[in-house]
Subunit: 242 residues, 2 copies
């Protein structure tokens, strides 16, 4: 069993994920939003890779049962019901709804990895639940960081490092690639105070500038949600364990 971390989906072909077990991480904020929305009763999340496709998909769905959510340049997209703040996705807002979600990095990463055999969404909020489930699957793991601006994201890498550290507790001989080793070291160094770390990253600073400091606080919580979002047939639903 082997763990690898990919710092950005940018250069990978969709087909490279065929048959793989993949976890997408976008701490700030897409995967945290997805986890919270499903945990609060959303029926499903439909991640899309463009705003145009989000609007197109929503046109063919029943009004009232479908919501458009997402951001561009950190802010809610005009005409969309919700932005990308996890806390907007309350039980009152999302219960029973299908949510079409577009975000700059996170949903693109999920769409890129759609041919994976197993595809999950993770963040600090469901870290241990995902780690335990991955250990039970006993398959090689690709942790795909959504990254930022087609590049490295410190917060996603730290989350990946923490997840691998958790998996090692169950799988002592876990083989690690260079990126996996690097993420473990980064998580040990930066992972002690997640809120402080998130506030000091480039992405964190940008969110604070745009008035989303509360989102950072929400995204810094660890293991507050035990749910595992799983992608299947173009939609993400909570994993129902057998």
């Amino acid at each position: 069993m082997k763990a690898n971390v990919i710092f950005t989906p940018e250069n990978l072909d969709e087909l490279s994920f065929s048959g793989k077990t993949t976890v997408v991480i976008d701490v700030l904020r897409a995967t945290t939003t997805i986890i919270n929305a499903l945990n609060n009763g959303a029926k499903e999340i439909i991640p899309v890779a463009s705003v145009e496709f989000a609007v197109k998909v929503s046109g063919g769905m029943f009004g009232g049962l479908t919501l458009l959510g997402g951001e561009r340049n950190t802010k809610k997209i005009e005409g969309f019901a919700m932005g990308n703040s996890p806390q907007e996705y309350t039980p009152e807002n999302v219960n029973g709804k299908s949510i079409i979600l577009y975000t700059t990095n996170g949903t693109k990463a999920l769409v890129k990895a759609k041919f994976s055999k197993n595809l999950f969404a993770a963040s600090f909020s469901n870290l241990s639940a995902v780690a335990e489930h991955l250990s039970s699957l006993n398959q090689d793991i690709e942790i795909l960081c959504a990254g930022r601006n087609h590049s490295f994201s410190l917060e996603d890498s730290i989350c990946a490092g923490k997840m691998i550290t958790e998996i090692i507790k169950f799988k002592e001989g876990l083989e690690l690639t260079d990126t996996a080793k690097a993420c473990i070291i980064l998580s040990k160094s930066f992972g002690r105070n997640l809120l402080k770390m998130l506030m000091e990253t480039e992405h964190g600073k940008l969110l604070i500038e745009n008035g989303f400091e509360d989102d950072i606080k929400f995204c810094s919580k660890i293991n507050n949600i035990n749910s595992i979002p799983a992608f299947n047939g173009n939609v993400i639903k909570l994993l129902v364990k057998e």
Copy 2:
């Protein structure tokens, strides 16, 4: 003054380097080879981004004074005088010669960054010399890791982290991007025993498999050469300080 690290040149446009001060790092082995070749008396290095272009350029040059060097899949290219082992570039082999060099990652990164205002090549061998020179320039710094297979290279990142740590000795208030911070942490954790670290990286293992263990030993030496290769008008020569 600010320091940034780029983990791979893959997604960047050539023009994004316009006016910048850039350092290219490819520890295993291209920049170590370039530093050693110039230090051993080579007149100049002409980095190229394709084998075809290497052959084309060499056709227009005087025989005897020009050498073709480089690798594909770690090995010397058929018809080339030399591979990518730094130790092949002895004074006897290179003195007074123009060397056209093609390597999988390193020379491509140099060519990608060619529009930089200042462009240098660094590795562990000339780390402190380059750090001191960059400090004296007092410009924002882009450290471009050549990476591996269009992705992250642990050894290049560690070298970048060590270089930034050196620069901070001269420039206390140096501003750091997220990647720069990550590299410093990686260099502190992995940088104590460079030979061991290099032997255990994915790239190191591949080189050992292909019989290049001596190259790794050579590339693990730190500050054994004080020369700074500088790119100017499509060729790399040793920097002559004013």
